[in-house]
Subunit: 638 residues, 2 copies
């Protein structure tokens, strides 16, 4: 109440109503180490209803994380560690950024998948080195979001017994009673999805504790505990009403609430000594848990040195030594989706915890690792994940697996469906979580499926997400380079945009240090070039053909392949201007929107309309992706 | 089979497996008029599983729509009316574009909402002038998508008794058995959502017919009929397998299938005479239905002339005469979301079927029409729609209401959550469906909620969608202008981007013909200007301040307000170059990504990183949206 009041901004209702359930969870169940927030075997706690951030900050402060009372007082202010919604990269103990509803619960499914995979793969009798739960507090808003429903269906299918969701069922949404829009029988729905469900009085700590205990005992299914709570509990005039949801209570109501709760109304930011003492055991408990785990890992390493070494490397979010040698070089024309498949196969042999997922397009995006099984409840160490037609939950789950650590997972679908996962893609960038997505069928080259399936604005609009690395390789060797960049990335998510159709080999044989690893480079050159052709992916071949045609006419041009704007823009200014000299006319060629290209190009060959259903060759021809049109365009700028 | 085989591309499996249920529906239940595809009281039929387009084309051809056998033979070819996925703007009888899974079923919910609203509002005892059903064929992929689940929950809450979904439960997805990823109990789930559910043998026409009849009798709830089918039915070697899903069967398998089905294997594109005769009654039946409806409307008009006139105008997708006079002019600084609220209120009195929706942010986006009730199953003529925290389903439902006609609906949420609805926004643009969305809290001006809630790339990335009109008004008068453009739009969806914070009045008093209705215009000028400042929305005020500061230093500049790129780019070249002279240095100012702005500007004042949690004024200051920074930037280009 005090922090929200001081900021005069924020959400007091959820922290006040969900405090009892959070108290039960954090003081009786959660295994964590406040002085080692990144301890790999900690239970994960996700506040999916991120607007209740002050609940999380209170818990972190009380249990001894590095989050001082000054930070609490600085809620929602510039430079504080207590932003309006939780941000994992700012605040120790925050597992992920939440706020966009549904993302927390969906990401948690990925964390639970990663935990189970590692547990089943590495534990040995008497050695439970991976052994934790994933807990979520979710709101009605979370449960209404499609991404959460996709994820819940997936979690039920997978039987994720270590995933426990506490549903803060306060019957209030921003606009009023949940009766306005949300009257489904949530428990019955989750039952139908294969979950264990329970319904308790969320204001009763014993009742919540009992339900959590029962959920922990239910090992074959994820658990939803619907906790009936009172939003803004304690506030005499605002409890149970949407008025406590998203605005400070007001100074007088804060006083009245403190009185009603038996607290001193004159004190602000006061933590009673007994409360502080009660919570402070979390630190020593955490130290003991970490020490016990260290000992367990040592014993494990003695008996299973190879497994322990592999696991330690994975938990450190490192890759096995020598993995770069797995990246192939290519000599033959092929679709980059096929070349990517070869790369995946080769990498999968060097990187034991590389997990491949796809949203029911495995045959098309070519994601499955051969000779590995599907990850299912009966085969939890399978390395191919069938996400179903759930692109959004897939992207969120990949974020969860990547944040969890120990595995390196990627997802796959058609580029057009990146629109379906966009909120999770953006969140990965914000969280500095290096998730990887493969987006194939990356242009009108998709052909007959037509405009509903043909990306136009997707490539550029993904490039616009801050800290998001879009890579569109022109051939197999660039594809290897892009895979290298993706796996090397520590804080930036990456998307590889792959062609359906065959592309010729144009770039040098792949070896680490391939010029594409600088994001953009000169692919073809001619002395005293009069224009620069800048292209990506499948259009690089067209640029090269046009370059050759112009050469015959005595017009010297340079071809720059620009697979990654993100990486190129992080090169030195000297390199960038050497590659694309600002004083020379430039023409961009990309089978997508021209918007954005004016940054580099004077004239753009692109597509500012929807595509059409026809064979790919027809489409490229009809839409001007021809040597003749590029040649004419170049001449127009000279 | 023949069409897919001739194209050597497409999806034979669904049309073959779902033919029996489609036959039952189209020959025994569907009320439609092949020679009047836009008859307002037709039953709507949506093939949500749009990849099965050849099923729909077959039905349209057989029942006598303007879709010749030559078009069928031209499946998936350039210029045909039979694209890979159905496109409403190309093919008579196609209600909407489908293909991106989940969109069809979600859009149908909007159609059913519109039908119920009109039926309850306009019908009178003995006069059932609005009286139709909305039928959907959906696949497992549709049901897995989050947008469909949001929409199903909403439909159950709303008790949409005229919505009937046939679920093509063929147990096969692209990657194999649904056992791989989709094992929920769909009927139990839909039960929990408040639906009537039924399970039948989908290959049994009588069983399907019985289930449809029962669903029609269930008037208080939407219906899901799970029809167990056999994908690729009739193909001896591919039926029941994913191999029949997304590729031609092959010439030999086509022959074998025809033999197995008792057809002549040597004949291609053959329609037996008895089949043609059986289906051809649809045309005369349709003519009779339309004639009966015309008579009913005439009788209705006699008894209820005012209602009939209002309804006719609405069904013609026209607005009542004189509606333009409802658009207010503004004199006082205010947030454009508040000014939009005033506009909505005023318009709602002139436009009787203007419906306002919001995804649980009504208080913030300021969408609700005062003195109108919430649209609920007990109050179906309420004009405020509580979509719940279901942005994606909201956008799809608005598309459905707009496509249905008779109502003009808009949705509302924060701009950041446009990412959640992006597939439906794109689809509205592709479908040439003039849906309207209000996106408020349109920049870091949102303040303390922080980077998860602050749009950066959203404005520009929406601008990139072909045929999508993004409007970001600078003040109340521009807001009126943008509302006018939105309501006048016939084929282009519009989004109004609205500020949370107050903005001064800068533009002329509003009257139709306001300069903002040209998309961009000169707001402030100075003789012999040396630079042009181009801004949108809240940054226009900053541009004006900088212009004045520069003026004091003797530097003459022009300020261009550019609320709509889409409209501006449709003005004459002369007007555009007169407004933004290509030879004068230009600086853009927009609190969002700079990508895309190089089209108009030499230097950009923008934000190419995520925002932060702090009061809005702090953020604008810290991120360089200051007069000093703009002045310095202008000087840098001179």
């Amino acid at each position: 109440m005090d922090a929200v009041q001081k900021a005069n901004s924020g959400h007091p209702g959820l922290p006040m109503g969900a405090a009892p359930m959070a108290h039960a969870l954090w003081t009786r169940f959660l295994r964590h180490a406040p002085n080692q927030p990144n301890w790999p075997n900690r239970d994960r706690f996700i506040l999916s209803a991120g607007h209740g951030s002050m609940l999380l900050y209170s818990l972190l402060h009380l249990t001894g994380y590095d989050l001082s009372m000054d930070e609490i007082k600085n809620f929602r202010q510039w430079g504080s560690k207590t932003p309006g919604h939780p941000e994992n990269f700012l605040t120790p103990g925050v597992e992920m950024a939440t706020g966009p509803l549904g993302q927390g619960i969906a990401t948690s499914v990925g964390m639970a998948l990663a935990e189970r995979y590692l547990r089943e793969k590495y534990n040995r009798p008497g050695h439970n080195v991976i052994d934790h739960f994933t807990y979520v507090i979710a709101s009605d808003g979370d449960l209404m979001e499609g991404v959460a429903q996709e994820a819940a269906s997936l979690a039920g299918h997978q039987g994720l017994g270590r995933l426990i969701v506490l549903y803060d069922d306060n019957q209030i949404t921003i606009d009023g009673s949940t009766e306005l829009a949300f009257t489904e029988d949530s428990c019955a729905k989750f039952d139908a999805l294969g979950w264990h469900t329970d319904r308790v009085d969320g204001m009763d700590i014993e009742a919540v504790s009992g339900a959590i205990a029962r959920a922990k005992e239910t090992t074959d299914r994820p658990s939803l505990i619907a906790c009936r709570t009172i939003i803004g509990f304690g506030s005499p005039n605002k409890a149970g009403s949407e008025s406590s949801h998203g605005a400070a209570l007001g100074p007088e109501e804060v006083r009245l609430s403190k009185q009603a709760l038996g607290m001193n109304p004159d004190k602000e930011f006061a933590v009673p000594d007994d409360v502080r003492a009660f919570y402070s055991v979390a630190r020593s408990n955490g130290e003991e848990a970490v020490a016990a785990w260290d000992a367990a890992m040592a014993a494990y390493a003695t008996e299973f040195p190879a497994e322990a070494s592999e696991l330690r490397t994975a938990l450190a979010k490192a890759l096995p030594e020598g993995w770069l040698s797995a990246l192939p070089s290519f000599e033959k024309a092929d679709a980059t989706r096929n070349q990517s498949a070869q790369i995946i196969q080769s990498l999968s042999e060097k990187i034991p915890n590389l997990l491949s997922g796809c949203a029911d397009l495995g045959h098309s995006v070519k994601t499955p690792i051969k000779n590995e099984s599907s990850m299912q409840k009966t085969t939890p160490t399978g390395r191919n994940i069938n996400f179903g037609v759930r692109e959004h939950a897939m992207a969120a789950a990949v974020n969860g697996m990547t944040l969890h650590g120990g595995v390196r997972a990627f997802g796959g679908t058609f580029l057009i469906f990146s629109d379906y996962c966009r909120p999770s893609l953006r969140l990965s960038a914000l969280m500095e979580c290096p998730s990887i997505q493969l987006f194939s069928h990356d242009s009108i080259g998709l052909g007959e499926d037509g405009p509903t399936h043909q990306p136009i604005e997707q490539t550029m609009s993904l490039r616009m997400i801050p800290n998001f690395n879009v890579m569109r390789p022109a051939d197999g060797n660039e594809t290897s380079a892009c895979w290298r960049l993706a796996l090397d990335s520590r804080e930036t998510p990456c998307a590889l945009l792959l062609s359906r159709q065959n592309l010729p080999i144009l770039s040098p044989a792949y070896a680490p240090g391939h010029p594409a690893e600088r994001g953009g480079y000169v692919l073809r050159d001619a002395g005293d070039f009069q224009a620069v052709l800048i292209a990506t992916g499948s259009e690089v071949a067209l640029a090269v053909e046009a370059h050759e045609a112009l050469q015959k006419e005595g017009i010297a041009t340079r071809v720059v392949s620009l697979p990654s704007w993100h990486i190129f823009e992080r090169q030195t200014k000297a390199y960038r201007e050497e590659t694309i000299p600002p004083t020379i006319p430039a023409v961009s060629i990309e089978a997508g929107t021209t918007m954005g290209w004016h940054k580099y190009a004077d004239v753009c060959v692109g597509l500012d309309r929807f595509g059409a259903s026809a064979p790919a060759e027809t489409l490229f021809e009809e839409f001007g992706f021809t040597v003749a049109n590029v040649v004419a365009t170049v001449k127009s700028v000279l």
